[in-house]
Symmetry: C2
Subunit: 351 residues, 2 copies
């Protein structure tokens, strides 16, 4: 029995040997460009991920009363059940207005170099202050939001325990800090790609391995690298060939609006590709619904290489291996409104 | 030590004795009119609450792709974190249209005699088919909804396991059945009132006990009785004195639209009062924001009795004792869309 087992193992090793060597080389190459998602939320600069703060941030993230209408919460556009997005081309906000860009996921967003498609927010705390105030999104003001929070004793108590020692902890800054702490926990480890990076050869199919090799060798990884396979730096959309206005609307100049530098015309943060199979439609315009089509457009516009169908299939298969374990979030029970809570304002704002 | 303890107990018993006698009488009276919320979901006629079916129903309940726009799910108006409501006067739906009536809670709704303010749906299965099709709400069609479900293999598999033995389980009927199964689990046991009914004298404060006595003796419980303290039968709004058009809009004839019987003019299902402290604003018009004000209006319009301030306070305090343990719901991870999934339609419908 023992001898048979040894023989079987030897045979298996012999058969697997070439594949293992390839896998090892592929893994080494990949580890120079990518990093696995950790199992635990990372430490933050200038914020503390305490249990109290995360719980408060979760309540705020899910509370539609943070919007002026009472209809929208962060969760409306960044749905924890749909890969952190809303599945729309661009989001619908206050008064049924459409937002200018596709809602990016907050999953693993803590690992991005900066937030928003143009990187105008340095971190998730700064990001959290944007949509609540945007007229086409939640249409609230910091004053009305803080008044809403202060009207509910359970929120006040939660801010007190989350920000101990502060005289007046219920502030717009702390609102954003709590949301950042919660969002930092929304990470998706253990994707097939992560398992491969950590040494499990069989975590990727042969097609996905070919796709990974192509992704690195054809140049995709020049922009889409790092822990989020993107989200680390800024690049012009249309390096080689500018896509049509259907995909790249001419009115959206990207990072130019942030830096006002001519070089930043049509420059965007490289999309982070973690869980990309869950977050259609694609690009900042949200006009491309199939991942395979997005890969083909990228190849043409950014690399100038016409990939053949099989290569596009292989890269698409690799991207599907970037889907990790989605966060299990118990829906928070929110504090009850009081007589002092500002009433929702559902009238449509003049545009 | 032992003797001191016995003495203390005797003293305590002596002090509590009159209160206990009152409590027992109050409890006996209450048990003739009310029933405690059970710890477990009840059995349903013509539906099976299996784990598979509940999980499927939960996914459907939280999935905004069940609406034509991709923006609204059941959860949008029946938020598990806000007592099962949206906290708006009347809900906002497709194209920012306002619904005609205040969104009722789905918590404990399985115990109502029928669903909707006018009872036009006999059960939660029938109810679930309404809002998804209503033009001012989710604005979907059964055909588009079923096409959406059939486009996602994970949903198809879930319907197969939830409705075993059916040739074509992905149907609009089964969609509604699964949601009913999930909603039947959304019950809120162990409110202070339930604990009192089950024998815990101290579960209600003295003020709440006075309020309970008033609630029964003044006649509130004539309409608001049973397990849901309401929701069991239909009554005219304004038995004694018709409220103003601000509270009772003249255009909404209530159950008359269902039965077309003159007697049903301005007749509504008595509001179920479980968790009522969480579900402002009040009445089918959603125009009254304070529970205390709602109590006062009811006294005038339904009972013809001008309760004094202390009595109104007492009844309000009793109603606050109807808040039970809110359901802990893990947000579902929804199936990813495929190339066959109908795209969201966000254009505003012509009215």
């Amino acid at each position: 029995m023992k001898r048979i087992l040894v023989t079987a193992l030897a045979a298996s090793t012999a058969l697997a040997a070439p594949a293992l060597a390839d896998d090892a080389a592929l893994r080494e190459q990949a580890k120079e460009m990518f990093e696995a998602i950790p199992l635990q939320a990372p430490m933050l600069e200038d914020n503390v991920i305490s249990r109290d703060r995360v719980d408060l941030g979760k309540a705020l993230f899910f509370d539609p009363r943070m919007s002026r209408s009472g209809l929208f919460s962060c969760q409306s556009c960044h749905n924890v059940g749909i890969g952190g997005v809303d599945g729309l081309e661009t989001s619908i906000g206050h008064g049924w207005q459409k937002g200018p860009r596709n809602a990016p996921t907050m999953l693993n967003a803590v690992f991005n170099v900066a937030q928003f498609w143009d990187g105008r927010a340095p971190d998730l705390e700064a990001q959290a202050k944007g949509p609540v105030q945007a007229g086409v999104e939640m249409n609230n003001t910091p004053e009305n939001l803080v008044a809403t929070l202060k009207s509910m004793p359970a929120y006040v108590a939660s801010f007190q325990t989350s920000f101990p020692g502060e005289d007046d902890p219920v502030t717009f800054d702390n609102f954003a800090k709590a949301i950042e702490a919660f969002e930092a926990t929304l990470i998706t480890p253990n994707s097939p790609f992560d398992k491969f990076l950590m040494g499990q050869d069989a975590a990727l199919s042969d097609q996905q391995k070919r796709g990974l090799a192509l992704f690195m060798d054809e140049g995709c990884a020049a922009c889409h690298q790092g822990i989020n396979v993107g989200g680390q730096d800024y690049y012009p959309f249309g390096v080689v060939e500018k896509p049509g206005a259907d995909v790249l609307p001419e009115g959206d100049h990207g990072r130019f609006a942030v830096t006002e530098t001519a070089d930043d015309q049509y420059v965007f943060r490289a999309g982070p590709l973690r869980n990309i199979a869950l977050t259609a439609p694609y690009f900042h315009s949200g006009t491309v619904w199939e991942l395979r089509d997005a890969v083909a457009i990228m190849a043409t516009s950014q690399l100038g290489s016409e990939l053949n169908d099989a290569q596009i299939d292989d890269i698409t298969a690799f991207l599907e291996a970037l889907t990790g374990e989605q966060p299990q979030v118990v829906h928070p029970i929110l504090p009850a409104r009081t007589k002092d809570t500002p009433k929702p304002y559902t009238m449509v704002t003049e545009q």
